[in-house]
Amino acid sequence: MWGTNLRVLGVVLGTLLVYTLIANKIPQVQSEVPQALALGANVTPEQLVAAGDKVFNGIGGCTTCHGLGTRAPNLLTDEKGTGLIGVRCAQREAGKSCKQYLFESLDNPTAFVVPGYQPIMPVMSRQLSPQQIWAVIAFLESQGGTVDVTGSDIPAPTPGASPGSPGSPGSAGFAGGSTDPQAIMNAAGCLGCHKLNGAGGAIAPDLTHVGTRRNAESLRRKILDPTSSVAKGFERFAGVMPKTFGTMMNASQLEALVQFLAAHK
């Protein structure tokens, strides 16, 4: 009887041990909580690259698709003889520098899709803070190219606007609390999906004449609660618009943005 008990226990413990050992032998990746980057105006290229490396290989989740070769272009290895991303980035789009191209790829990824790939990249400026975005750009430039990102590229920190963490009402808001609607829209990445005066994305309604379709009250409600209504023809994108904008801008910014859009008739 005891012999049976011991053998059964041995089988159970042995099986558990094997599984535990195998799971501990594979590469260990922990999902970290995003930390706000504090990159001041006098940040060095090395600091930017180091910070970008962490974002790229960590919370940015970039390696999920880039580097695998099937979903998205390799960035850290040679891509079809065109070199690393730092080498080829300036040649991707005519008239765009490496820095401009990389920023566009992160902020408005559907603007230019590398031939042979699907437009599946999410708008990273909705998921990462401006500091993180610019750090990633510096890191990518460092892959065979020259890092020309400087502290002046990085907007002032906006604690309330840190993606991934809800801001608190009354916080500084986007773009350092600026009430310039254009600055708010740039900082919030609205043009990643919406078009305004011919510029911007196409997966959300064109805002150029939004004032003819929505009044100020409707716009305010839509920003605070994006699911309150869905524009005709965009039903399949329902739910894409972040629901956190209401908590990421302060009241003055919200009003400035609402009045700005309502005036676009």
């Binding site: 009887m1 049976t4 053998r7 059964v8 089988v11 159970v12 413990l13 099986t15 558990l16 041990l17 599984y19 535990t20 195998i22 799971a23 501990n24 594979i26 590469p27 260990q28 990746v29 922990q30 999902s31 970290e32 909580v33 995003p34 290989n57 989740g61 390696t63 999920t64 698709c65 580097g67 695998l68 070769g69 099937t70 979903r71 390799n74 850290l76 290895t77 699907q118 599946i120 999410p122 998921q127 991934g164 963490s165 809800p166 009402p169 609660d225 994006p226 699911t227 309150s228 329902a238 739910g239 629901k243 956190t244 209401g246 908590t247």
Partner: protein, 570 residues
């Protein structure tokens, strides 16, 4: 006065700490262990009644006492397990409300009506179980037997509703409605709106099937222990049979489980693509390699048990030469399925590999190869079972030869469809390739259904080559059942980690952030230690529970060994 009271209440609410610390192991580990062990017991007490009631029905329709006794023995295992489920549930609730008070308060604000309903239904469910078990011998004949069977059905209805309610809490955490934002007052969220989220029904169905798999595996392990410690041939024969039935239930439901998993995965992607990417290709990517390894163990061990079982069946020796080919397909399939693909790799690792893929193995790591492998493994397992089923019979229907040829053609066509779409998948875009998996699955399921129907018809009046010699199994077959039970339980813990872990540092995805010191989602190595701890606690407790059950009542095994029968005893 009223304002003053409200102010005091508000101050009291604000003074609630967000988190408290649990000594030594920390609050995350404390909640992890209590939740996981509770879930394992809950899965067991929800899964077993499902096949207990089916087994009882088989006994009623076939007028076969053995099935009725087997159903009763299944149910006997539930009695103490119910108490254990409730105790661990209470521990989890207290753990959550003391260690994560603000989060618990948030959830209670949204779900309190369904929480009350949950408690009420659990009460009814428990008393239905007591009636079902203790009334077994009293309501044994005639119409009262049907009333008794109705109690079993009722038990399952209560259990399923209870599970659906609890699932709604976790699916809300995972995929809250889009209009719920960090500033939404939880008391304003409509209950049904919070319940009917994107992942609720996929999780419900996935768990429903998984509970049957899990229950079958644990019952099989129980039977194998009783087999190993049996003192008489009769007892050994009974528990050999019980182990076979438990394993059959587990393996049959396992074949369907991946399809429910696909549905859940698709809903996760549709709800939030970044969550889907985190799950399949992000920091959890290695988890799927471990999962592939575990499922390979399940397939290989399940088939091994069947092949050993054929040793006790007269006439099975004619099929023995095929075993090595079946084993070959299973091993090759397992290797392909376990080939890594979408891994997080850093610069050094990419450089060491010479690119994004391994120059040779990279081609096997894609979904085309993996879907092909798993579908062929399912077909192979089904073929193993078919050979087992036919081992001691010789069909006598005039169309037997034609029937066998048709079955063979169906296998060949299904395998050809699977291979065709697997190879074609390399030459089309991803979006088209994903659609191919549906055709592969349909081909396999169609083959399983039609081949089974033909086999049942062919078995009518079949000549018996001798009865199955229940009890004549080598002990290693019983240890294989233990490996299956441990693996199923471990897999359950792993998948629970995957489901919960994709929320990362959110209590409620993008609504309520985890700001505790345990907000980071741990790596797989740490998770594996936690899972093994939970599995060990569960198995030790379940062993104790079964031992208690044995003290209370003698085994219900049939006194005499099953006599030689015309049918083959499946």
């Amino acid at each position: 006065m009223t304002d003053h009271v409200l102010l005091l209440l508000q101050q009291a609410a604000d003074s609630i700490p967000a988190y408290r610390e649990f000594p030594v192991i920390g609050s995350r580990s404390a909640v992890w262990i209590t939740a996981e062990v509770h879930l394992m017991f809950a899965a067991f007490v929800l899964g077993v009644p499902m096949f207990a009631v089916v087994t009882e029905a088989i006994g009623i329709f076939n007028k076969d006492e053995r099935y009725d006794r087997l159903a009763k023995e299944f149910t006997r295992l539930l009695l103490v397990a119910y108490s254990a489920t409730a105790i661990w549930g209470a521990m989890l609730t207290i753990g959550l409300f003391t260690l994560y008070p603000r989060f618990s308060q948030y959830m209670a604000s949204v779900f309190s009506p369904s929480m009350w309903l949950y408690v009420g239904l659990f009460l009814f469910e428990s008393f239905t179980l007591y009636l079902y078990y203790y009334g077994w011998d009293r309501w044994k004949k005639g119409r009262s037997k049907w009333v008794h069977w109705g109690l079993g059905v009722q038990l399952n209805v209560f259990g399923t509703i209870v599970m659906f309610i609890a699932n709604s809490w976790l699916t809300f955490m995972m995929s809250p409605p889009r209009d719920v934002t960090p500033t939404t007052d939880p008391t304003t969220i409509k209950l049904w709106h919070a319940i009917a989220t994107a992942t609720w029904m996929p999780i419900n169905i996935h768990r429903l099937i998984a509970n049957v798999v899990f229950g079958g595996a644990v019952v099989a392990a129980y039977a194998s222990y009783r087999f190993l410690s049996a003192k008489t041939d009769e007892e050994r024969a009974h528990y050999d049979w019980m182990g076979y039935v438990g394993n059959f239930i587990a393996m049959s439901a396992l074949i369907v489980l991946p399809f429910a998993g696909y549905w859940l995965g698709r809903e996760v992607y549709q709800y939030d693509q970044s969550m889907g990417i985190t799950m399949m290709g992000g920091f959890m990517s290695w988890l799927w390699v471990i999962q592939a390894f575990l499922i390979a163990v399940l397939f290989l061990t399940g088939n091994y048990y069947l092949w050993l079982g054929m040793q006790r069946i007269p006439g099975a020796e004619r099929f023995r030469p095929y075993t090595k080919w079946l084993l070959g397909i299973l091993v090759l399939g397992a290797i392909v399925w376990g080939t890594p693909h979408t891994m997080i790799a850093d610069t050094k690792e990419l450089a060491a590999m010479g690119g994004s893929h391994h120059p040779f193995l990279g081609a096997l790591g894609v979904m085309s190869a993996k879907n092909t492998a798993v579908n062929l493994m399912i077909l192979t397992t089904f073929l193993s079972f078919l050979l087992y089923r036919r081992a001691n019979t010789r069909p006598v229907v005039p169309w037997a030869r034609t029937g066998t040829i048709v079955q063979g053609v169906m296998f060949a066509v299904a395998a050809a469809v699977v291979l065709f779409f697997g190879i074609r998948g390399y030459f089309v875009e991803a979006i088209v390739r994903i659609g191919f998996s549906v055709y592969q699955v349909l081909a396999v399921l169609t083959c399983i259904v039609f081949v089974t129907v033909i086999d049942i018809l062919m078995a009518r009046g079949a000549q018996s080559l001798g009865a199955i010699q229940w009890g004549k199994m080598p002990p290693r077959s019983q240890y294989a059942l233990f490996v299956l039970a441990v693996t199923f339980t471990w897999l359950m813990g792993l998948m629970g980690f995957a489901r919960s872990g994709i929320r990362q540092y959110w209590h409620v995805w993008q609504v309520m952030q985890d700001t505790s010191r345990y907000a980071a989602t741990p790596a797989l190595g740490y998770a594996a230690k936690m899972i093994s701890t939970c599995v060990l606690i569960f198995l030790l407790l379940v062993g104790f529970v079964f031992w208690l059950g044995g003290l209370a009542e003698k085994s219900t095994f049939v006194e005499a060994a099953p006599k030689e029968r015309d049918h083959v005893g499946h």
